[in-house]
């Protein structure tokens, strides 16, 4: 995708005024509610008209205030997955899926029903009415419907925010699978840093209707560490679990981590760990209750709000810990130095993100 957008839209006291250019096949739009994300989606899809500006996609102008160009929403070939599924209640799942495909010109048809149904595992749902689907199933059908319209750009407008945590991570698995399989460029719009990091590597941050930053998702997450009540979320892929003395021991990047023994455990998975839950020691503490004590090398230090972030390396693994600047001075932390990081076993939280290539069955209750 080569998206260029320079647009202004005024709503009473709020004004969206953005100038951005996006290359590459995926990008996030991050911002709190009220920052203009949804307005941006509407301007791109043609559901709203900018007061002035210019929008072009892959060299084709979609809107040009000066020349009076304004391509209708149905001619833009930009698909949307909304926050809520918005399925047509009078059509079956199949009818919903085919709605966009039927209206797609033959020369643009690349994705057909069969292959989509396979990737999103929709086969058992095809002949059902949309009222008999669970929340997660509905959103899967909505994704399929947008993808089958064979868009040249997919706008994912907070597609996960109406779902509970369990379904949220399942749907992320489906979204990634479908976008990767069919190579559809997408913009992922969200106010959740965690979702953003799971979906894309580059991101545009909006604040009060302006572009605040265009950067990597990782950088944005680090910048926001000091502002966020949950700190920076480390994402760790743990594998090869074994039980040992009433705890679960997982392998992580050449080392081992101890977690409390859970009720339903898989042999591995994606876990989150807040930067606030890591305590740093200059020297080896002889006796400590925390089950994980890792010897790490300091890679870098960065400032974020009133906090200092410390990037640590342990084997191939990277962790971000946060401390107050005074602690960084007292411990004389410098890149290249050695530190001990203590992490309580209970600080890890499993994210229900399916492993690549194995989407989990949808177990959500009918809503």
């Amino acid at each position: 995708m080569d998206l260029r957008l320079r647009a202004r839209k005024q709503f009473g006291a709020f004004a969206l005024d953005v100038d951005l250019s996006i290359q590459g096949d995926e990008c996030g739009i991050f911002g709190p509610s009220g920052s203009g994300k949804s307005t941006l989606v509407s301007l791109l899809s043609g559901l709203l008209t900018p007061d002035q500006g210019h929008i072009s996609l892959d060299g084709e102008p979609l809107f040009d205030g000066a020349r009076g160009t304004d391509v209708l929403p149905d001619r833009r070939r930009i698909g949307i997955v909304f926050q809520r599924p918005n399925l047509f209640p009078h059509l079956s799942v199949r009818g919903n899926l085919l709605y966009g495909l039927k209206r797609c010109a033959p020369e643009h048809r690349r994705i057909e029903l069969d292959s989509l149904v396979r990737v999103l595992q929709l086969e058992p749902l095809l002949d059902r009415g949309v009222d008999n689907l669970s929340g997660g199933e509905k959103q899967r059908v909505a994704i399929g419907r947008a993808v089958l319209s064979n868009p040249r750009l997919l706008l994912l407008d907070e597609p996960l925010s109406a779902l509970d945590d369990h379904l949220r991570f399942q749907i992320i698995g489906h979204l990634k699978a479908v976008c990767r399989e069919f190579r559809i460029p997408f913009l992922f719009i969200s106010h959740s840093m965690l979702e953003m990091r799971l979906m894309t590597e580059q991101v545009i941050a909006l604040a009060a209707g302006r572009v605040a930053a265009q950067t990597s998702t990782e950088n944005l997450a680090r910048e926001r560490m000091g502002l966020s009540p949950v700190g920076y979320i480390n994402l760790l892929r743990l594998t090869d679990m074994r039980h040992e003395g009433g705890a679960s021991v997982y392998c992580w990047e050449g080392g081992e981590l101890v977690l409390p023994r859970g009720e339903q455990e898989a042999s591995g998975g994606l876990f989150e760990l807040s930067s606030k839950d890591i305590i740093l020691f200059k020297r080896h503490p002889e006796a400590i209750s925390a089950r994980n004590l890792l010897k790490c090398t300091v890679v870098s230090l960065f400032e974020s709000g009133s906090r200092t972030g410390v990037e640590l390396a342990m084997g191939q693994g990277r962790l971000i810990a946060e401390i107050v600047p005074a602690a960084a001075r007292d411990l004389e932390i410098v890149p290249g130095g050695t530190l001990f990081a203590a992490i309580k076993a209970s600080a890890f939280r499993r994210l229900a993100v399916p492993e690549p290539g194995q989407a989990q069955p949808d177990t959500g209750a009918t809503s």
């Binding site: 929403p73 909304f82 047509f88």
Partner: protein, 227 residues
């Protein structure tokens, strides 16, 4: 129950015919008006709203008189239609027009209630999936307004059966030609010895109205089951 003579039978049949024709004729216009009022953002929307609802509060006789001015031999529309061999005034077609105008607000209101219950996101979704305005209207808005279209049609049909004031002015009260049930009752009630006939037609009116209301109730219940 008196056995009706041919004039009365034709009044009953004519009432049903006029009411059904008026309802069918109004459906496309009612759908369009309801769509414009529910989803349209244009100048003059308020004026359209008032115009559509005016017959609800205006005395039917006033509507009849205004139609007479427009459609009569001296009205521009009446003259134009007559010159192409399609006279309206004092024919059953005039009764259809009068009934349509009087019942129109009821039809539009019922369709509007259904349309306003449609989530605008569904229309946006259809547009983003490649449906043009008309396509979206026919494939999303129309099927989701069916409930309103049916309810409105039944209501309008029932209202049409009782139409009197506007009809008597534009269509007259010609037995066998434009005399509907209410007009026949009016005739019998004002002529000596017509009481029995008037009462008989009243009974027919009651039976028809109750039938229509029951049909309406049944339809609503079926709809609730489907929806």
């Amino acid at each position: 129950m008196p056995v009706f003579a041919s004039a009365e039978t034709s009044a009953i049949l004519l009432s049903l015919k006029v009411s059904a024709a008026a309802t069918l004729l109004s459906l496309p216009f009612g759908f369009l008006a309801a769509y414009l009022l529910s989803f349209g953002r244009f100048r003059g929307r308020l004026a359209l709203d008032v115009l559509v609802n005016l017959p609800l509060t205006l005395p039917p006789v006033v509507i009849g008189y205004l139609l007479l001015i427009l459609l009569g031999r001296h009205g521009w529309l009446g003259r134009a239609l007559e010159s192409v061999g399609f006279p309206l005034i004092f024919t059953w077609r005039a009764a259809v027009i009068a009934t349509s105008v009087v019942g129109f607000p009821l039809l539009v209101r019922a369709i509007r209630v259904a349309m306003e219950g449609i989530d605008p996101h569904l229309i946006q979704a259809s547009r983003s999936l490649g449906a043009g305005r008309i396509d979206s209207l026919l494939t999303v808005v129309l099927p989701l307004s069916v409930r309103g279209l049916l309810a409105g049609s039944v209501l309008m049909f029932a209202r049409g059966l009782g139409e009197f004031g506007a009809t008597i002015i534009v269509a007259g009260n010609i037995p066998g030609v434009t005399q509907t049930i209410p007009l026949a009752i009016y005739d019998y009630a004002s002529s000596p010895g017509g009481d029995r006939m008037a009462l008989g037609l009243c009974a027919v009116s009651v039976v028809l109205s109750v039938g229509v209301l029951l049909a309406h109730e049944h339809l609503s219940r079926c709809m609730a089951k489907w929806g």
